[in-house]
Amino acid sequence: MDARSVVIKGAKNFLAHTPGLVRHGSRPSRDIAGDSGVVEVIGERLRTFEEAGAYAPNRAYLGGLTPDELSRLDRPWYALGGDFERSQRYGRIMPEDEFYGVMKMMDDFDLLWLDQGFSRRVAESLAEKGGWTAEQLGKLESGVSAEQVAGQLGEGAGNLPMYLRGGELIGVMNAAHRQDASLFADVLLENLACKAAAVMAVKVLLEDLDLDPLSFPYILNSGEEAVGDRYQRGGGNLAKAIGKECGLVNSTGSDVKAFCTGPNHAVLLGAALISSGIFERLIVVGGCSLAKLGMKYQGHVRKGMPILEDVLAGSAILMERNCGVGPVLRLDSVGKHDVGAGGAQPAILAELVSKPLERLGLAYSDVDKYATEMHNPEVTEPAGSGNVPELNYKLIAALAVRGGQLERHEMPEFVSRHGMPGFSPTQGHIASAIPFMPHAVEGLSTGSLNRVMFLAKGSLFLGRMTQMSDGLSFIIEPND
């Protein structure tokens, strides 16, 4: 066994169903500012926890279904209903009241004030499920009165009301500064939610795989939220804050920022840290993107659908030095979108897919599954954004045709066999490749899969500092 070899030992996903927070997503909040009637329009289309839990793409995200099983279900998926468990094979889903409680427990600066009755009720529920320290649960003990909440929500205060799905006011998110836009309530809400979702993902990983928190020396956060103040906007290191809340007291960490390519870059850097011998094991984590809640609600309302962007997501990956268990990350398989590569989609995919395959002497069909942008098409299509994973699979198939490895008429079969339906919530970096990681780890360990490529793309141009995109890929295979 190669001493430099690195394995993906496990991976877990997390969802919080947060319909009450949809109004604070970027698109809804901007529309509500212009027309308060939008609140009611959105409120009529919010799903119950049972509906969100039973939603087939959410079950696929948490391992209740395989993507191939999802592909055999008739659409619309939101009309199928069904049963679900809060704990599934690859993760857990949490209702909004408990997630507000987790956010409060993660709140070191008393920014989120919760109504005392609500807070105590949630504390009981979270204590019953276990896994929290007395100090964390203690933050839920007191709460505030309805008058105190109302007092914080006066005009010009800059604070945000916190609601449940049915419109019940249960708290307030306070700004930390009146002039510093980096510490306004909306930014802090995004950051706190991201921290809470990431903590939940790591806790699910630790608990489900029975891992010792003290055994971790490092944690890499790949979330996109810009934690900082006016002098160091996006300064970051949410990783360390996440580690503290999960009891990883022997660890430190750092954030890897690369838009939606962040998780893939973080996995690559994690592999380098392990392969070099600096660390034996580490966790790569990504929290949620609250700003993307309800991003396409207009399309969903127009089509008479429920608003499907009502969940916050997290993902955690356990990486270790290879001791014989877990799929191996091939260190020689990295595909990268270089500065000089150009921005056209075929050029990007040639860098991420064609070049590494050619270098390794592999054919396109030697990769069982390509995990690409896994956005759920039922979310994107009603808003005119198309079927993103399918578009990527067609392009990969077209590259195979151009390379003389596939006949043109074989493209649909290639897409069906080597692709999969999008099943990820549209949660920014979370949707890029890594939702398939738990499926891949199991499939490569049990023999149902022999090779998986993870390829992610990032929209660097959104930050207005470059017109470029980004992309990174790697392959994982069974352990020898």
Partner: protein
């Protein structure tokens, strides 16, 4: 369409054709690109 001497706004999409690709094509056809932007709709 004759693009020579025309002014072009290049609006691209991440998973489709990006703004800089449209702008390159337009410039090569003799157009003046006054704005190039790429959006991400996911």
């Amino acid at each position: 369409m004759e693009l020579k001497g025309k002014r072009v706004i290049a609006l691209g999409e991440r998973d489709g054709i990006q703004g800089d690709s449209i702008a390159s094509v337009a410039r090569s056809a003799g157009a003046e690109v006054v704005l190039e932007v790429t959006h991400c709709f996911v």
